[in-house]
């Protein structure tokens, strides 16, 4: 078995330049949670099926459990920690809070990032478009109704 050698990988993380020393076989999820301490990105199924680890890469939702850190070299990575500004939640985060779009909360970071990616591309999505955008994100608490309402609220500019 060969030993994986480490290299410096540089990317833009939540608006700031970030360098990490990682081997090619290290997943973005592990770099975020273990090396950088950004534990908002959740480890769910760990196999690309639940969406709890959804982050944005160059503004597009991607699964951190299927993405090698090496792939992020030279790109922009955004996690749930990057949405709030000056300690104030983003409009989408507030909508999840106000509309009770979160219960146990474990899926919420992934839901919010998938929804954020949708709203950047489509500021006024239909319910069908919201459902399609969140197809890969599993929630076992809410039944999804409140999540969809939260995203509609955020799209309308409320709360």
């Amino acid at each position: 078995m060969t030993q994986a050698t480490k290299q410096v990988r540089a990317f833009c993380l939540n608006g700031r330049a970030q360098e990490v020393l990682v081997a090619d076989n290290v997943l973005l999820l592990d770099t975020l949670r273990e090396a950088l301490g950004l534990t908002g990105t959740k480890r769910g199924c760990d196999g690309g099926e639940c969406g709890a680890c959804t982050v944005l890469i160059d503004g597009t939702p991607r699964l951190a459990c299927l993405t090698r850190t090496q792939e992020c070299d030279g790109h922009g990575v955004e996690t749930i920690e990057g949405l709030a500004e000056n300690g104030r939640m983003s409009r989408l985060q507030r909508a999840f809070h106000e509309r009770l779009g979160t219960q146990c909360g474990y899926c919420t970071p992934g839901m919010v990032m998938a929804a954020d990616g949708l709203l950047r591309r489509n500021p006024d999505p239909s319910v069908a478009e919201i459902r399609a955008a969140l197809a890969g994100n599993i929630c076992r608490c809410t039944g999804y109704v409140k999540i969809i309402e939260a995203i509609q609220d955020a799209a309308r500019g409320a709360p």
């Binding site: 030993q3 090619d24 076989n25 690309g48 699964l63 299927l66 993405t67 090496q70 792939e71 197809a135």
Partner: protein, 331 residues
């Protein structure tokens, strides 16, 4: 889940460099989006010393129309890029539908055309953790010597589960393959073999470069049945391309996925030409499908259900494309 095995990743910038990398790295695997391979490697299904990432090769990233070649799709084009391409969305709706039927947006943003066409076969005895498979004595597909689906059989019955292949087969697509012996063009259908443990006819160091689809495609559609409606592999997936002359069908291709170790074109469809789509015609189509698919107990749902749903999907698509007012039922 387990950590990834140690490997290094090569990122060639040309087809020649990728071929050279494959030649120098005997224990290497080609990779693009990695949405399937990453999961399998973490399950201990393979231990490559190197991965060769093909996404940095410009020829593999191109999708578009080019004169007599019709539609050309690079193997590293993502499924999202393919589905959203204006020409594909308007003139090749079956291909766009098949690409959109794969996973969720986050999978389609990473997963590629080549990856979906070269997807590993799947089975409830194979897509498991290393300790689960070891406790079960492994299986014929990897590390073991018995197929738990058909213990008395001599081959692996894991099912091919890519969505894109049937849509491209229904359009009689061709592919370019690069490797140590140069570049060759062949029908997509010739890429596959009916063996779950060796379903790709690719020699060592060979990889898919592009897919070529003829101009003036026949009207076509794709549909799949799956256990989880939001995202899932197909229990059965069917693409139908149907051309009419007046009321009569004068061209028909039916391609299937999820039921066999390979995606394949239905044989014997010429017997259905020269007649309009009718309940009797749909009944004959359904029987043809049921006779040629061979689903085994590789998913949580019964094989007989997948056999019947494959036929029903083929009938439904053919009825719509053929302008029939009725939807047949082969059951």
């Amino acid at each position: 889940m387990e950590l990834l095995p140690p490997f290094h990743v090569a990122t060639p910038g040309s087809i020649a460099a990728a071929v050279a990398a494959g030649r120098h790295q005997e224990a290497s695997r080609f990779i693009a989006g990695g949405t399937d391979l990453m999961v399998n490697l973490r399950h201990g299904l393979g231990d490559p010393a190197a991965l060769i990432d093909l996404r940095g090769i410009p020829e593999l990233r191109h999708v578009g129309t080019t004169g007599p070649d019709g539609l050309v799709i690079g193997a590293a084009v993502t499924l999202a890029e393919l589905a959203e391409h204006p020409t594909v969305a308007t003139r090749y709706p079956a291909i766009a539908a098949a690409a959109t039927a794969v996973g969720a947006p986050a999978h389609r943003a990473a997963g590629t055309v080549g990856g979906n066409l070269c997807l590993d076969t799947r089975c409830i005895f194979y897509n498991r953790s290393a300790w689960w498979r070891e406790a079960n004595g492994f299986c014929l597909k990897y590390q073991g010597d018995t197929c738990h689906v058909a213990p008395t059989g001599k081959r692996c019955h894991a099912a091919f589960s890519g969505d894109l292949a049937p849509a491209l087969l229904a359009h009689a697509a061709e592919i370019d393959i690069a490797g140590p012996d140069g570049l060759r063009r062949q029908p997509l259908a010739a890429l596959y073999a009916e063996d779950g443990a060796a379903h790709l006819r690719l020699a060592a160091g060979e990889f898919l470069v592009r897919v070529i689809v003829a101009a003036d495609p026949w009207p076509a559609a794709y549909a799949k049945a799956r256990a989880r409606g939001a995202i899932d592999f197909p229990l059965a997936g069917v693409a139908v391309a149907l051309r009419r002359s007046g009321d009569d069908v004068d061209g028909l291709r039916v391609a299937l996925t999820g039921t066999n170790a390979r995606p394949f074109l239905l044989e014997g469809t010429e017997g259905l030409l020269g007649a309009p789509v009718s309940p009797a015609w749909l009944d004959r189509l359904g029987r043809l499908v049921q006779k040629q698919v061979s689903p085994m107990r590789t998913t949580l749902l019964a094989a007989q259900y997948r056999r019947r749903v494959a036929a029903a999907l083929a009938q439904r698509l053919a009825a719509t494309l053929g302008g029939a007012a009725v939807v047949g039922d082969a059951a």
